[in-house]
């Protein structure tokens, strides 16, 4: 069995990537299974999706604890402990990371026990679409290529899955050409064949009653949202051109995370520690005073 785990951020397309590789494998005559795990369903928050491919019936479900292949939609996830990218990764696990950086550079910042590969899928999308877009097509294509599926079946899968999402034909065409580029970018890799491991008998423990102060799902600690920095979620950042800003407060109103503050001079001030890069402010600004800029480097917390 091949167990693939995708790591992405809400909105990046990891779920569709898992569907793409599963559909391509299914078309190729494999048994396949895919499923997403959304967590809080918060745009920008880390999420995972899974695909299992096998020649025999698949008798597993749910999360993949020991993946054979890990596909990471963005290198910022490596630095985010909440993303759990490294969970169950062993020396023979293949880890592909979408990053501008080379393997050696990445390893300096984020040690990875697996066999690390990188490729700049975001650059590919920017070149192809002329703007930022979901990465589902390229991520699915890279996964399909790495496990050795055919481009023909991947193309059919792209047409099926992206068509089902209601994407217009030109976008599907662009994804087909990006998929071709991905097939050139990476080569099939030998994946480990000994992924199955017998489970140890669990030692069960009898729960005991706790007083309702600790035995009830409640939070009595003071708010800690300021401590939880979500700036590391960004792959793109909103940047203000003060010349164009008319102080209309639209960005302030639409920011879902309260990361925009209006200053005395009525201009917005973005809190880059907490701006998660959803770019809603960029979309809503009526004067194009906010533009999006691609984040560079692995760790891009604050300004």
């Amino acid at each position: 069995m091949v167990r693939i785990r995708f790591h992405g951020r809400g909105g990046q397309g990891a779920k569709t990537a898992a569907r793409l590789v599963a559909t391509a494998a299914f078309l190729e005559g494999w048994m396949a299974q895919d499923s997403p795990l959304y967590g809080a369903e918060r745009r920008g928050a880390p999420m995972t999706a899974f695909a299992r491919l096998d020649r025999a019936p698949i008798r597993e479900r749910g999360m993949i604890a020991r993946p054979d292949l890990v596909v990471v939609a963005d290198d910022s996830l490596l630095a985010d402990p909440a993303a759990h990218v490294g969970d169950g990764v062993e020396a023979d696990t293949v880890v592909f990371v979408n990053s501008e950086q080379a393997v050696t550079q990445l390893l300096e910042r984020a040690p990875c026990p697996g066999r690390l590969l990188t490729g700049d899928l975001t650059g590919l999308v920017l070149a192809q679409l002329g703007k930022a877009g979901a990465l589902s097509g390229p991520l699915g294509a890279v996964a399909a290529r790495l496990v050795g599926l055919s481009e023909t079946n991947l193309r059919t899968a792209l047409v099926m899955e992206l068509g089902e999402l209601g994407l217009p034909v030109p976008v599907i065409e662009q994804n087909l050409s990006m998929a071709h580029a991905c097939f050139e970018l990476v080569q099939p890799v030998p994946l480990r064949q000994n992924g199955d491991r017998p489970g140890q008998p669990a030692s069960l423990r009898t729960p005991t009653y706790e007083p309702p102060t600790s035995g009830t799902a409640r939070i009595s600690a003071l708010a800690n949202v300021t401590v939880r920095k979500t700036g590391g979620w960004r792959t793109f950042r909103p940047v203000l051109d003060p010349e164009k800003c008319i102080g209309c407060w639209m960005c302030y109103l639409h920011c879902p995370d309260g990361a925009v503050r209006m200053t005395g001079a009525t201009h917005p001030l973005i809190d880059y520690d907490h701006c998660k890069g959803c770019l809603l402010c960029v979309e809503e600004c009526p004067t194009l005073a906010l533009i999006s800029e691609r984040e560079a480097g692995l760790v891009r917390r604050s300004s």
Partner: protein, 409 residues
Amino acid sequence: MTMSGELLTGNLAAAWGARLAEVDYVPAFPITPQTEIVETLAGWCERGDLAARFVTMDSEHSMMTAAGAAAAAGARVFTATSSQGLLYAFEVLYTVAGWRVPLVLVNVSRALAAPITLESDHNDVLAARDSGFLQIHAETCQEVLDSILIAYRIAEDQRVCLPAIVNMDGFYLSFTREPVSRPEPDRVRAFLPPYRPSHLGFKASRPQALGVAVLNSVGYSHFRYQMHLAAMNALAVHQEAADDFARLFGRRYDLVDGYRLEDAEDVLVMSNAFATKGKAAVAAARARGRRVGLLRLRVIRPWPSAAITQALKGRRTVAVLDQNLAPGLGGILYQEVAATLGGEPDRPRALCSFVGGLGGRNIAEGEFEAIFARMAEAGERGRGVGPILLYTEEDRRQMDQWVTIAGNR
């Protein structure tokens, strides 16, 4: 025998339970046959007889939400509903139970639609049996009042901290007057200390979030199981409360209520108001030489397995007469009693299931006699029967007539 107390309906007895518990807050929504409870409380609050805030809500869903929120803020809360109203509040039952807020809800049982009827059976309250609410089912108007006080005492105990339902039958108790003795307020205060749960209460400077998202199956399992452990603690806490109650008020309530069990070879299991009829039928059958007894289930959540096993093991036949119906299965309480006895080495030779009293249909003495006869046969054969609906030739004739009048024949 001289009667003490006064004649009160079950509804009035319930209102008195809330008044004697000196509740702080009563969110309310009317529904037959419960309306008299909240009307009475509304009048008392208006006249200042009860120092509680009474608020009419737009639905039972809002009512239960308000009840849970007020209890979380530190108020002692009482509310009441019935039938469809309980179902309308259903999702909130689970929610407030998860908050671990010890409020008391009186449910006046009435059969569920469709078709619509007004009299009682227990599909309403049993639908809520897995919500995390404790459940005490009353046989008499006196027991309604007393059980409300006991319910607050158990629910508010730090070893429990769960909401509780006190159940009574619509019409058969709610609108029926019988002698009820009202406990002295001073003694009630001695029995029921002020409400001070450690994890609840409102302080503006110290906000807290209850029933938060855990988004994680390990945390969810942990907290859900804590609710189970809390409910199981209620078995012992009930006994302590029952002991104090007996000492202060002279009336004794146990988890289950046995009637003529000593040498009974066959035992009929019932709950709620019709158990009174069952006891009369047992007495009559005893006079005719049958060695029968009755076990009334009183505390239904937590499920008192040990007390039930103790009362029923070694009998020849045990039959459960369910006043409810799970379509596609049969009687609900039969399943639980049978599961309880299933692991008992000295289990009865035969387990039987009867279903009767649906929509408040009367159970006649002759029908009890038919039940006892079937139980004796089953015990001799060593093989149970059921579910058997209490349905007679006369019922069939009446149905034929109605179907004709309705133009369906």
